[in-house]
Structure formats: structure tokens, C-alpha cells
Symmetry: C2
Subunit: 154 residues, 2 copies
DNA sequence: TAAAAATACTCCATAGGTATTTTAT
DNA sequence: ATAAAATACCTATGGAGTATTTTTA
């Protein structure tokens, strides 16, 4: 069984839900196949990723999840980038920002990008600062505007 | 059809072999399934990755291959890292080197690592300078010792 | 004893194989 | 004309479902 992205998504889901059953629901599959798939992955790796009852990541499992998040983000990025190139753009910058950046900072960025780099597409996503920090680490964003008490550019 | 690692390996193989038939042989599958899989991936992405007869990457295909190489390397790294953590190590450094480094440089690195960082495992691979350069770019190695005319540390 | 994961089995979706046709040089 | 990819059809591996048992908190 080659380690593929599907298995990585499964392990990440279990880690985030803290339960095989809830993860299965989120993944829209039944619990038994999920248990089996993860069990086979663990046999394949020769490493236990979770302790059971209660479900809890092992140290190795934490390492796997951290890597898996990055791989999943990279795959999504690969798809986005491929489509962008086909569409004539030469690159994509995935921008994350908090609401407070939506009225001043972001429009200025977009105007500048449109003028100075017409081949670059901006994929913008609004979320909170914690998600931005995690997303930046995971490679889900290329550029983030997290909360600041006051901008110094006024 | 979710974009998975298998498909990425297929596309990379075709790009490297410059031919569906030769790539199929290298992947140990027949040519028709390979053509079909790539065709379905192209439909899924809405993007042509190869021109046919002669087989040649499109611009979008090049972007995809570049991303795919990184993802594949990251998956391999994830597996290595997970096993290493399970084995009690806190990290792995994948070292590539040319034969000429095997007698002086590499043993010294290993001795130093054993003494100063017992939790770190070295995964060493011997190959040639060109492969080292490519591997470093692809993330297959963390540290390389390519050919040098003479070391300055003697 | 009750909730959650593991087994046992069944089914079917799809990755892969073989035979053949199409296409571009 | 010929070599390489596409198409058509078939097979079978393994991913997912249902029913049930095991585990431990």
C-alpha cells in the first residue's frame, strides 16, 4: 500500500477530531474502513500513529500529521498553480488576511499587483490571526495580514 | 478522481522519459492505462499537461511536474521522519555525497553528529554531482557534498 | 455497562491488462 | 509505412459498506 494523499487526509482528520468515528463522519466514510486503512498504514510504516481508547496521537503520529498537512497544502497549491499557468498567469500568490485588513491594506495590494504584476493572480482568503499563523507554517498561504493594533502606514 | 501521488509519479515519469510507452515500462504498467490515467487527470484539471506526437510538456505541464517533484520528495521525507521519531530520534538529515567525500568528509560528519546530536539520524546516499544538485532542489536531500577539486579543510 | 475501535464478510469502483484502432511523421 | 498514443473492452485488486464483536474507562 503506497502512502498516498488520501491516507494523509484520513490521519489528519482523526488527529483533528480526536476520534475515529467523528473523523469518519467528517470524511463521509464509515468508521470501520477508516480504522482498517489507518491500521494498514501503521503496519506499512511499522509505526503506531495513534494510541486507542482514548484516541491520541503518538510522537511519531504528530510528526506524520505535521508533514501530511504540508503535503496536502502543496498538492492543493500544485493544482492551483497548474491551472493558473494554463490560464496565462505566471504565478499565484495566496493571500490570507483578517477582516480589518479588508478595507485599506488589501485593496491597495490588489491595485498594486494589478498594475505592477498583471501575470500574478491573488487568491485571497479571510480568516482569523491564529489560522493565518498556522496556514503560513503549513504553506497554505504565501502572504498573510494578521491583526495589528494599528498600521504605521496611515 | 482526486489528484493523488500516484498520478504525480506518472506525470513526472512521462516528462522524464519523453514518451508514454517508455514511462509505462519504467512504472511497470502497460501504456494504455497510463494514457488513460493522464487523460483523466487532464480532464479533471481542465488543463492539457502534454502535447502528443511528439510527447512534450506544455507550460502548465512543466508547472505541474515542478510541483509534483516537490510533493513526492515531501512524502518520502514524511515517511522517513515519522519512522525516525518512532525510533527515538528527533530528526533526520538526508545527506547526499560523491564517492570522493566517502573517506574523509563523511566520516567526520558522522562522528561529529554522533557526539553532538545523538538524536539526529543521518540518511546517507552516494551519487553523482548532477543528481545531488537536482536532489537538493527537489528536497530529496537536506545536505550534499558534491565534487570539489580540493577541500580547503586539509 | 456503555461508548469507541477492531474484525469479519461482502460488494463494487476503478486501476490495470489485452486487443485493436487511430494518427502523425 | 510505421511507431506511438488513443480507444474499447475485460479483469481483479482493494477501498468502502453492514453487521458484529472486542475492549477499556
Amino acid at each position: 500500500m503506497p502512502v498516498d494523499i488520501r491516507l494523509m487526509r484520513y490521519v489528519v482528520a482523526i488527529a483533528e477530531e480526536g476520534s475515529f468515528g467523528r473523523a469518519a463522519a467528517r470524511l463521509h466514510i464509515a468508521q470501520p474502513p477508516l480504522s482498517r486503512q489507518v491500521g494498514e498504514l501503521e503496519r506499512e510504516l511499522g509505526v503506531r500513529l495513534f494510541e486507542r481508547r482514548p484516541t491520541r496521537l503518538t510522537a511519531a503520529g504528530e510528526a506524520f500529521v505535521e508533514s501530511a498537512r504540508k503535503v496536502i497544502a502543496d498538492v492543493d497549491r500544485a493544482v492551483a498553480r497548474t491551472k493558473a499557468v494554463a490560464g496565462g498567469a505566471v504565478g499565484v500568490v495566496r493571500v490570507g488576511y483578517v477582516v480589518s485588513a479588508a478595507y485599506e491594506v488589501l485593496p491597495r495590494l490588489q491595485a498594486a499587483a494589478r498594475k505592477q504584476a498583471p501575470g500574478i493572480r491573488l487568491d485571497v482568503t479571510e480568516t482569523d490571526s491564529a489560522a493565518l499563523a498556522q496556514g503560513l507554517r503549513d504553506g497554505r498561504y504565501d502572504l498573510v495580514f494578521p491583526a495589528v493594533s494599528r498600521t504605521s502606514t496611515d
